[in-house]
């Protein structure tokens, strides 16, 4: 058909099922990306020139950084792609899974929804900053002991969230832990083990 463009037509194994275009009543249509973005895109050259990188000072795991970033860069992408701190994970990029949980001035947040520039002057702690050198944080120890993970991808977020959960005073019962840890999804389903780990740390009463 005229509107099947190159490259080479496929040598299909089941052509009868793939020649739908021959018998179709084709309707030409313009489907476009987001109108608001396209509108903005028209100005893109201008925008690229206009919007300078913004100076940003923040502290990550005790190390001061002086950076220059585009305002649209999220804290998560700054950590991963610019500071190469890959321990903080991208699991959804929309605040729906908790894999990107870090502490900002001691509070747990989703770094995927925080613009990096909004963290000017703040102290960020990531999973890389939790252990004291080779000495694991009690929560890290407890996660290993209770096998609070399988694949390990959500684990940094779970641990950062768990530390905050205890500090906030929301680890007084298994049910309270379950509720206050529900912002951290684990697809491997290590939840009961994670709850056990947090209970143990809470009972241990260590200063976190």
């Amino acid at each position: 058909m005229s509107y099947i463009f190159p490259t080479m037509p496929t040598q299909n194994t089941n052509n009868s099922r793939r020649d739908f275009l021959k018998k179709s009543t084709a309707i030409a249509a313009l489907t476009i990306a987001s109108p608001v973005l396209l509108k903005a895109g028209e100005n893109d050259e201008k925008i690229a020139a206009l919007f300078e990188h913004i100076d940003l000072k923040l502290e990550v795991n005790g190390i001061a950084h002086t950076l220059s970033v585009e305002p649209r860069v999220t804290l998560l992408d700054l950590l991963r792609e610019q500071l190469h701190l890959m321990g903080t994970k991208k699991g959804c990029d929309h605040g729906q899974c908790g894999a990107c949980t870090v502490h900002v001035d001691g509070k747990r947040i989703n770094s995927c929804l925080s613009l990096a520039v909004m963290n000017e002057g703040k102290k960020i702690t990531t999973i890389e900053g939790l252990a004291n050198g080779e000495k694991l944080h009690p929560m890290q120890e407890a996660f290993i002991k209770h096998d609070g993970f399988q694949c390990g991808y959500c684990t940094p977020g779970q641990i950062m969230s768990a530390v905050a959960c205890v500090k906030e005073g929301h680890a007084n019962s298994a049910n309270e832990i379950r509720e206050y840890m529900s912002g951290n999804i684990c697809r491997c389903g290590a939840y009961p083990n994670i709850v056990d780990a947090i209970m143990e740390v809470k009972k241990g009463g260590q200063l976190l």
Partner: protein
């Protein structure tokens, strides 16, 4: 996401001036909804005005009630001793929303400003009158399981997703606003709009206006409960939610305030059921009657038919729960 201009300000006046002058500018506070919408291309402001430096984070109590700054974090408010002691309904509703991490980012004002979670609003390839006026409503005859049963029209059947706002609607809060023309206040129940002919508008803020605080009047509600029914046990938007605030004297209901979430373009007050309950005893029969009354004017769209029955049971259960220790 386009690369936008980013400015910080510590003055409310400066913030509203910039906003009023720039059609494509938006305030950003917690960012939990706005950054998400920008990532999806639903909105693309050319200028973000970071208002986190404004002094609007305080909770202050006076004889008339309590004022909560618009930039107070959801978690801070939910954990605040006065809120927990005197406005437990609000604390409960706040904790029913989102996750601990998001509540540490999201502000009270931002919570009020959050947009609907309708799939068609979020997917820029789909029709949505709210996102793109006159493009049609995808949900009307589409996936509308999560959608509204009150105050709808053919232009929009989206719901407001907040839990907190349901409690504030029940608690007769007022909203303090500042703008280029000065300060004003409006009733919380008048803050959000029904879709009407302008589904693109979620609320009655005028151009450039900024929420500065909310005020909740002192009350004598001694039986309250926030019930949220959802598809998983936590971290999910409401199918239906109910905020109940009762003032009981002995075994008699003196005052009743009821509001529902997940059912309308704004928190939905159940005024008929409220009137019915006044002077009544807290019996199962009365609560079922209140539930039935609450849903009398509801209309559904296929996949959300269940919300009418669920609304009835939710109202009854929330009332039952609020009064269970009598």
């Amino acid at each position: 996401m386009i690369n936008f201009d980013y400015i910080r300000t510590s003055s409310a006046k400066a913030a509203v001036d910039v906003k009023a002058k720039n059609a494509s500018s938006q305030f950003i506070a917690g960012g939990t909804n706005l950054v998400d919408l920008m990532k999806r291309g639903v909105t693309a402001p050319e200028k973000l005005i970071d208002i986190n430096g404004l002094p609007l984070k305080q909770i202050t109590e006076d004889a008339k009630g309590i004022s909560i700054g618009a930039l107070a974090l959801n978690s801070y408010v939910a954990e605040h001793p006065i809120i927990k002691a005197k406005y437990p309904l609000l604390a409960q509703a706040l904790n029913a929303g989102a996750s601990a991490q998001l509540r540490n980012m999201a502000t009270i004002g931002g919570n009020m400003m959050q947009r609907t979670r309708c799939s068609y609003f979020y997917d820029v390839t789909m029709p949505c009158n709210k996102r793109e006026p006159n493009s049609g409503c995808g949900a009307l005859q589409g996936q509308n399981r999560m959608h509204a049963v009150f105050g709808t029209n053919e232009k929009c059947i989206a719901v407001h997703p907040s839990d907190m706002c349901v409690a504030l609607a029940a608690l007769d809060a007022t909203v303090n606003i500042t703008g280029t023309k000065g300060d004003r206040k409006i009733l919380f129940t008048d803050f959000h709009r029904l879709a009407g002919d302008t589904p693109e508008l979620d609320n009655n803020l005028q151009k450039g206006e900024l929420i500065t605080s909310i005020h909740i009047p002192t009350n004598a509600f001694n039986k309250t409960h926030y019930l949220k029914i959802r598809d998983r046990a936590s971290y999910a938007f409401a199918l239906v939610s109910v905020a109940v605030a009762l003032e009981m004297s002995g075994n008699t209901i003196k005052k009743a305030k009821l509001a529902m979430g997940g059912v309308a373009h704004k928190p939905w007050r159940l005024t008929e059921a409220e009137k019915f309950l006044i002077g009544k005893q807290p019996t199962k029969e009365n609560f079922i009657a209140a539930g039935n009354m609450a849903m009398e004017t509801a209309t559904s769209f296929g996949q959300n038919d269940f919300k009418i029955k669920m609304g009835k049971t939710a109202v009854a259960e929330a009332l039952q729960h609020a009064t269970r220790n009598i």
